[in-house]
């Protein structure tokens, strides 16, 4: 039996350094250099005390100038900035969800997009009280898509998915004015509140931040996830590989990057067609390899086992291999740097969404109606680009790890069914997991999410945190770039059970799972909310009583703040490794780290020392256990 070996951050850094040498040869820029140019960062910006919402300023708060021209103090400025930041994230995720609703609306029996999981559609329809009897599945899909789209702008009522919460929680959210109404309304209201001359009361701004976040997590993101499953299939455990070594030198390499699976699903479909493979061979390649970066990668890995080339801060590396024929992007987290970088190589940088248009890219406008043709054109373009490779620049780091991914809530429940005993247990619940937690075999769960951020040594926080958590019998569920960090390190290899504590190790063995479960892209953090709700319902507890916390140690985007707000809004304590530009206000700090508890039972903890961050999470989990007497 071979010993389990992880890929270390040092090894990954060495591989990156080797790629930067290639970059140096062709005069390529890279984030590592740009970070240097941008350092030190603006202190006012970092503390959140710079206000640019009207043209009287910009105003910045200092001890000598404690108020802006309008008279707003640091607390109001930091609060408004925080709310606007959240609104940006909520709008982004939710718009992604809206695109998916639209794709569902375009689904047709003989169209580009089909309903791959009709059972899930029927289940959601039932939840929403939509009549399904005798209805054609596509008619139902269109009806559901329309209802979904209405969630963005409906004049009255709250988000439908709030009914998935344990009893009483929705009512409590309504009472505290945190229950989200129409998604677009919450974004608009946020921007309205943050307008010059509106809210400057930190408490009100934080509450609306939570509500905007909730509109994302229990609205836009959840629809994005649920309808993606309906369209592309609900993920189930599948084996794949992660890190740059998944690219194949002899093949045409197409890298998909971004967030929306509508594009990448089509690319995968065509890249796998005999016609395109034959064409690639004709053009001198051995085949076609599609790999992914960022959350688009998570989407296609979860559903198709498409390998993951890397996460957020590795996006330039795929081009630096010199073996990338095309990097095809949709929306979010795409470095504009890819344009100029691709010009240093033969790589085609293909933008596809009107939402994300960039200089130095080839724009092939992608839409649901013409998806097939668009995808085919892109794959063809990549194949035809193979001959333009410069062999002397090709270097793919020989580095990849095995990973089992695809743990949707449905897949987790099914996995848990596998350890039930038909003589005593019911199936289809999270109870086996609860039994593991109650007995102490597993101490709790941590939802690891979020991005990379150069402020933190890339992937280091994700990986070190997870290692320590699993060694302490805490199961990790991960999504987004955090999940990819885990996969690259080998933590999603089932053999990683060997570095777990005895309890988690035993659970991994019995359930045949890796200790870090890949739950999807960042939109799929909604899956984690559903799981938490199911755990609460199955245990008769409230979500905020569960020994479960969330953690984004290397977060960077507005979306991440929106996520943080809905995780806290859902009742799960959230631990951040990067300060969300609020240190300039003691009141905001107090509200976010303690004040929200009175509304949701949860709050933030910010700790930039990663070692301490882990200990704080373990402590919190043990506190929750003690409170439950388990």
């Amino acid at each position: 039996m071979s010993e389990f070996k992880m890929t270390t951050v040092e090894e990954m850094e060495a591989a990156t350094n080797r790629l930067l040498e290639t970059g140096a040869k062709v005069g390529a820029d890279a984030w590592q250099f740009r970070v240097k140019n941008q350092t030190p960062h603006c202190k006012f910006g970092e503390q959140g005390v710079c206000c640019r919402i009207c043209a009287m300023g910009p105003c910045r708060i200092t001890p000598k100038a404690p108020r802006g021209i309008c008279g707003c103090d640091a607390h109001g400025i930091v609060g408004r900035n925080f709310l606007k930041f959240t609104a940006g994230g909520a709008a982004t995720h939710s718009d992604h969800g809206r695109e998916i609703c639209h794709t569902l609306y375009c689904a047709a029996e003989d169209g580009n997009y089909k309903v791959k999981d009709p059972e899930k559609l029927l289940r959601i329809a039932k939840e929403w009280g939509v009549e399904t009897e005798g209805k054609d599945i596509y008619d139902l899909a269109h009806e559901m898509a329309e209802i979904g789209l209405m969630e963005y702008g409906k004049p009255f009522g709250y988000q439908r998915f709030l009914d998935r919460m344990p009893e009483g929680q929705k009512e409590k959210l309504i009472e505290n004015e945190i229950a989200p109404r129409a998604i677009d309304r919450e974004v608009s209201t946020s921007l309205h509140m943050a307008h010059m001359g509106c809210s400057s009361l930190p408490e009100a701004l934080v509450k609306q931040s939570l509500r905007a976040g909730m509109a994302d997590g229990w609205g836009g993101s959840m629809m994005g996830t649920e309808f993606s499953d309906v369209l592309f299939g609900t993920p189930k455990p599948i084996d794949t590989e992660a890190n740059l070594g998944v690219m194949v030198a002899e093949n045409v390499n197409i890298v998909v990057h971004g967030h929306d699976p509508s594009l990448s699903e089509m690319i995968c479909e065509y890249a796998d067609s005999p016609e395109m493979i034959a064409y690639a061979k004709e053009m001198g390649a051995k085949g076609i390899t599609v790999s992914g970066v960022c959350c688009t990668s998570n989407e296609v890995a979860m559903r198709r086992g498409i390998p993951m080339a890397g996460n957020f801060l590795q996006q330039e590396n795929v081009v630096l291999t010199g073996a990338c024929e095309a990097i095809v992007v949709d929306v979010q987290c795409i470095f504009p740097a890819l344009g100029p970088l691709s010009k240093c190589f033969h790589t085609k940088f293909v933008t596809t969404s009107p939402i994300a248009q960039m200089p130095d890219s080839e724009f092939i406008r992608f839409n649901a109606e013409t998806a097939g043709e668009n995808a085919k054109a892109i794959v063809k373009m990549a194949i035809e680009n193979f001959k333009n490779r410069k062999p002397e620049l090709v270097h793919i780091p020989d580095m990849k790890a095995k990973a089992t991914v695809g743990y949707s809530v449905e897949a987790i429940v099914k996995t848990l069914d596998g350890v039930t005993n038909s003589q005593v247990d019911e199936t289809g619940t999270t109870k086996p997991l609860l039994e593991c937690i109650t007995s102490g075999v597993i101490r709790g769960a941590v939802a690891m999410v979020g991005c990379n951020n150069p402020k933190i040594r890339p992937d280091y926080a994700h990986i070190e945190l997870m290692k320590k958590l699993i060694a302490n019998d805490i199961v990790v569920i991960a999504s987004g770039c955090s999940a990819q960090a885990a996969a690259k390190a080998g933590l999603m290899d089932k053999s990683a059970k060997d570095i777990c504590g005895a309890g988690l190790k035993r659970v991994c063995e019995l359930a045949d799972i890796p200790p870090v479960l890949h739950m999807g892209s960042c939109v799929d953090i909604s899956r984690m909310m559903i799981l938490a709700a199911e755990l609460a319902k199955d245990s008769g507890l409230q979500i905020n009583q569960l020994p479960v916390v969330g953690c984004a140690p290397e977060w960077m985007s507005e979306k991440a703040v929106s996520i943080g707000n809905y995780v806290v809004g859902t009742g799960i304590d959230t631990f951040l490794g990067v300060d969300p530009y609020v240190s300039g206000s003691s009141e905001m700090c107090e509200l976010l780290t303690e004040g929200t508890r009175k509304w949701t039972g949860a709050a933030y903890t910010v700790e930039t020392d990663i070692e301490k961050l882990t200990d704080l999470m373990i402590e919190r989990i043990e506190e929750k256990r003690t409170a439950l007497g388990i």
């Binding site: 350890v419 005993n421 003589q423 039994e435 109650t438 102490g440 302490n472 005895a502 309890g503």
Partner: protein, 709 residues
């Protein structure tokens, strides 16, 4: 209180008792007093397996307790609970060991207490073949005697080995249930600490079959979890001590099923609360992923491998059939499919009802088979299973084979409605079930009419046997094109591979070349695969390139090369369930052989368990070799070192068993008459000096041979 706290409390309590017991023993006997269990080569087996340290006296035992204390950490993590469970088990072993001081016999029938190494080695084959599909450990008192007995019987009927600890021992005794290793129900003892005797079996299995290095606790626990299909049924009430023992069991991978509902946590597949005792069986099997091979046979008594060892005494016997006194025979006969009516069972002659109570009668049963893939070579393979099939019938007993079989039917079985036609049912169902790949149709005719039996025996059976013997005599390693691998034991001994040749059967004694051939025919991807022998490297020791390649592949690279005929150079490995072990005896240039049943000392200064502990686990140990009894008379027996001439000592019983064939081989090879008379046994010598005197007196040829080392 949390589950872990209960484990810690229970562990602390047992530790305290152990410390007191050891101190008291030291005060009474002094530190140098020897401590051991009988009939084991592994000292205090659990402590030895976990730590790699052999405890031999009270002083060392006290030191060992200090080591146990280091396991008892108290963080709220499963590892701490597991280690405290293991610590509890080790304490139990210490307490039990103290009971055996001065050769005391703390357990009287029907209680067993410590189980000998030989018992474990015997369990090896049935465990890997699934004849024993699992091991149940039942702890405490069932809510009622009836429920307890019903549970034990339910496992017994599935062939599961049942061990009993605590009140259940009295409950089965009260119900008058027959217990013992032969019926696979073993009451260990009434104290909870007696549970260690079954843990000891599991851990010794890891050392014997798994080649686990003593002290490698991690590998040890992986072995028990993956390969020992044991589980625990613990009756309410569970006190902290039992909960702590349970943690130890779960650490080893054995789930605990209990009807306790108060203050108990549930853990999937590990700690399961089943309030309904009548569902313990189903719950346990599912928890341990044990699949029972279902052979539904329509007979009025039970049919299970647990009854294989059952003995029917004369007083309990309704009738018997005895081939040594009257004409009997058992025969598989291949015929054309058109000559068979499938599932037809005919009795020609009187039924048991017409026979006098206690009478001796004739019987001959002919099982006619047909099938596209059937070969006459498979006839004896199927026929040899009859012993096993008939013995699995509750209340029926079978020994011998061919025309020398003896069958007894008990009064109870007869009273339950068992008749001879049911033997036909059993033979039909079992043959069809086990040999479905070669037997398409099957019909059974049972003759009890004495004249018919005489006819069948002399006109049909004996000529067939003679023909087969001629064929077998012509079957030599040289006369066949291929050998077979047997990796049946890999479930238990992951790197062991047997190479089965016509003149060298599997070391367990259960797989001959023909068996392997049939097994391969039944399942070409199964445990027996064809090994070619086209590229010899060294004919003297029987080494072939293709055999080496196969062995390397089948052992997953653990074995590089192997010889078929040498015990000194690249000898074949052992899994651990060998019938015999031979080891070199340097004073006489010969080898001594001991069989598993032999409990005494050998001239090598070691008992069978001690000898056996030197090999096994799939590793090569030059100078020692496990093998089957029938290999002893083979012309290929350590041929490279000179062959059977090297045999200088065997237990008397074994010597008698192999005498005829061994003498014949010696005559053929060396022209020596009555060679077995030259071989020593325990009545002659159990030390090398006396043995050499005896050999010199007899002029044993080994003395004049070259030294083996």
């Amino acid at each position: 209180m949390t589950l872990f706290e209960r484990v810690f409390n229970g562990n602390d309590a047992v530790y305290g008792l152990t410390e007191q017991a050891i101190d008291a023993a030291i005060a009474q006997h002094g530190e140098e007093k020897a401590v051991s269990f009988p009939n084991t080569a592994y000292c205090l087996p659990c402590y030895y397996a976990v730590t790699g340290v052999k405890v031999t006296n009270l002083k060392e035992l006290k030191e060992a307790l200090g080591v146990v204390k280091t396991l008892m950490t108290r963080e709220p993590r499963l590892n701490d609970a597991f280690m405290s469970g293991v610590a509890t088990a080790l304490c139990a072993e210490f307490i039990e060991a103290l009971k055996y001081i001065d050769g005391a016999t703390p357990y009287e029938e029907p209680l067993y207490g410590h189980l000998a190494d030989a018992v474990i080695r015997e369990l090896g084959v049935p465990l890997v073949t699934g004849d024993i599909p699992g091991v149940a450990v039942i702890l405490g008192s069932a809510p009622t005697v009836e429920e307890g007995v019903a549970l034990v019987k339910s496992y017994q009927a599935q062939g599961i080995l049942v061990t009993l600890v605590g009140g259940i021992c009295d409950q089965v005794a009260e119900a008058g249930m027959a217990t013992g290793a032969n019926v696979r129900v073993i009451p260990l003892g009434k104290d909870v600490t007696a549970v260690i005797h079954v843990v000891s079996v599991a851990l010794r299995a890891a050392l014997i079959f798994g080649n686990v290095t003593p002290g490698d606790a991690k590998t040890l626990m992986e072995y028990t979890m993956q390969r020992v299909p044991a589980f625990v049924n613990a009756f309410a009430p569970l006190d902290d001590v039992i909960v702590a023992c349970g943690a130890g069991a779960i650490a080893l991978g054995f789930p605990v099923i209990t009807n306790e509902t108060e203050n108990i946590a549930r853990v999937p597949k590990s700690l399961i609360v089943q309030e309904d005792v009548s569902k313990f069986n189903a719950t346990s099997l599912e928890a341990r992923d044990i699949k029972i091979k279902i052979t539904n046979i329509d007979i009025p008594v039970a049919f299970a491998s647990a009854f294989e060892g059952e003995i029917i005494r004369r007083g309990d016997m309704q009738v018997e059939f005895d081939g040594s006194r009257v004409d009997c025979a058992e025969l598989v006969h291949t015929v054309d499919a058109s000559e068979i009516e499938d599932h037809k069972i005919t009795v020609v002659g009187p039924e048991v009802d017409d026979m006098e109570l206690g009478s001796k009668n004739s019987i001959a049963y002919v099982v006619k088979v047909a099938g596209k893939n059937m070969q006459p070579d498979f006839e004896p393979v199927i026929e040899r299973k009859f012993h096993n099939y008939i013995n699995c019938i509750e209340g029926v007993y079978h020994t011998g084979q061919r025309d020398m079989q003896r069958i007894r039917i008990s009064k109870n079985a007869f009273a339950a409605g068992f008749r001879l036609k049911h033997i036909g049912e059993v033979l039909y169902a079992s043959v069809k079930n086990e040999f479905e790949a070669v037997v398409d149709k099957c019909e059974v005719i049972i003759y009890t009419d004495p004249a018919e039996c005489t006819r069948i025996r002399h006109e049909v059976a004996i000529p067939t046997f003679n023909k087969r013997d001629d064929r077998l005599n012509n079957l030599t390693d040289e006369s066949v094109d291929v050998y077979y691998s047997c990796i049946l034991c890999q479930a238990f001994s992951p790197s062991h591979v047997c190479v089965v040749t016509p003149e060298r059967l599997g070391l367990c004694g259960a797989v001959s070349w023909l068996d392997a051939k049939a097994t391969n025919e039944l399942d070409p991807n199964g445990p027996c695969q064809v090994i070619t022998k086209e590229r010899p490297i060294d004919e003297r020791i029987g080494e072939y390139e293709d055999v080496n390649e196969a062995v390397k592949r089948l052992s997953q690279g653990a074995l590089e090369d192997v010889s078929l005929y040498s015990i000194m150079e690249k000898p074949m490995t052992s899994c651990g369930c060998f019938e015999c072990i031979c080891g070199i005896e340097p004073f006489s240039n010969g080898v001594c052989i001991a069989n598993r049943e032999y409990a005494g000392m050998t001239p090598l200064g070691m008992t069978f368990p001690e000898l056996a502990s030197m090999t096994g686990g799939g590793v090569q140990t030059p100078g020692f070799m496990g093998h089957g009894k029938h290999f002893i008379a083979s012309k290929k027996f350590m041929k490279a070192e000179g062959g059977i001439e090297r045999i200088v000592w065997m237990p008397k019983e074994l010597k008698e068993f192999v005498a005829d064939r061994l003498n014949q081989t010696a005559k053929e090879l060396y022209g020596i008459d009555n060679f077995t008379d030259m071989i020593g046994d325990e009545t002659v010598a159990t030390d090398p000096e006396t043995l050499v005197e005896f050999l010199t007196e007899k002029g044993h040829p080994a003395l004049g041979m070259d030294p083996m080392m």
